[in-house]
């Protein structure tokens, strides 16, 4: 039995410590806003936060974040000033096309802006490098991050 603190709530489940966190979130907790993309930590669709850091939940194992002390946040639980600014900018600029990668993009953008309140284009490109968008919405993603940064200033 392992305990995961997800979106502020301790959740107990009988799963292997080697299970990818993604399956615990989607299949056990029904938090399906986090998407499965590649399963190899190569695309970023499964990005969630652990203590505010963006992590790929397909690659991070349940055992790595179990115990209840590490705070896991999914797109469903994203909140706070930075999250609100990012989500607002995403909506205003209509960033999303098909939308599959966007929960991961938003979670990464929140982490980026939490660490760097005024990122340059290069900061954004490097800091978001692990999130791929097959629709190619990168230009709007970048604009939205700049806009969110402005609204937070």
């Amino acid at each position: 039995m392992v305990t995961l603190n997800v979106n502020g709530k301790n959740e107990e489940m009988d799963v292997s410590p080697e299970m990818p966190l993604l399956w615990a979130l989607r299949d056990r907790l029904n938090l399906t806003g986090t998407k499965y993309g590649c399963g190899r930590a190569m695309c970023g669709a499964c990005t969630v936060h652990v203590d505010g850091e963006a992590i790929r939940s397909c690659s991070i194992m349940v055992g790595t974040v179990a115990g209840g002390k590490k705070k896991i946040t999914t797109i469903e639980g994203a909140s706070g000033k930075v999250a609100a600014a990012v989500i607002n900018a995403w909506q205003k600029l209509d960033v999303v096309q098909c939308g599959y990668c966007q929960s991961g993009q938003i979670m990464s953008a929140i982490t980026l802006l939490s660490k760097n309140s005024k990122p340059t284009d290069t900061d954004i490109d490097l800091g978001m490098e692990g999130n791929i968008c097959r629709c190619g919405t990168y230009v709007r993603i970048r604009q939205a991050i700049h806009q969110a940064a402005k609204s937070l200033a």
Binding site: M42, I55, I60, M107, P119, G130
Partner: protein
């Protein structure tokens, strides 16, 4: 004491002393030469491990490499201020403290790029040797501390348990540490 020695023996004393001194000097020189030679031979073995992809891929200036073919890390991740990446792209974003059998992402405790002062890429054998024993560039380690680090550090040990899809360091870890000890005992000799 000299007065206690018989006159006949006293006549031979300078010669005996000289012979003894010469023998001692010659023995010491031979020992030092052997130790240096041993140290140099051991260094070649040590160096063959340090330049293996499992070590060299993360002893990079700014961007880690990956795989046995030593390609640039995909997705691209850069050093950042603490050697752990930048923004939403940090080592811990994907790497656990152990290998992940599902995603096949390698993992070990404190997974990160080696400090910039410990970039080993592109160094000659001599440059690598000099860097390794330079406390200004090796994390302020004495030669003995280098042995301890390479014998016990979890991230170093990962090189011998690299997981599926990548070659572990072929030389057994104990043998590597033994060579390292010989290199240190012989005075951390470096090739010319």
């Amino acid at each position: 004491m000299a007065s206690m020695i018989q006159p006949k023996a006293r006549r031979y004393l300078p010669g005996l002393l000289l012979t003894a001194v010469l023998l001692m000097v010659s023995a010491t020189a031979a020992q030092a030469q052997t130790s240096t030679a041993d140290s140099l031979a051991a260094w070649q073995k040590v160096s063959s491990v340090l330049t293996h992809p499992r070590c060299l891929n993360c002893h990079q200036p700014n961007v880690p490499k990956q795989g046995d073919n030593r390609q640039i890390h995909v997705p691209l991740v850069v050093r950042g201020p603490a050697g752990h990446g930048v923004g939403a792209m940090t080592c811990g974003s994907c790497h656990n403290a152990s290998n992940n059998p599902t995603s096949r992402t390698p993992g070990a405790p404190h997974w990160h790029l080696a400090p910039a002062s410990m970039n080993w890429e592109g160094l000659s054998d001599r440059e690598l040797c000099l860097m390794l024993k330079d406390p200004k560039r090796n994390g302020k380690r004495t030669p003995e501390a280098l042995v301890t680090h390479m014998a016990n550090d979890g991230l170093v040990l990962w090189g011998w348990e690299a997981g599926a899809g990548r070659e572990s360091v072929p030389m057994p870890h104990k043998e590597f540490v033994d060579h390292l000890k010989v290199w240190v005992a012989g005075g951390t000799a470096c090739p010319k």
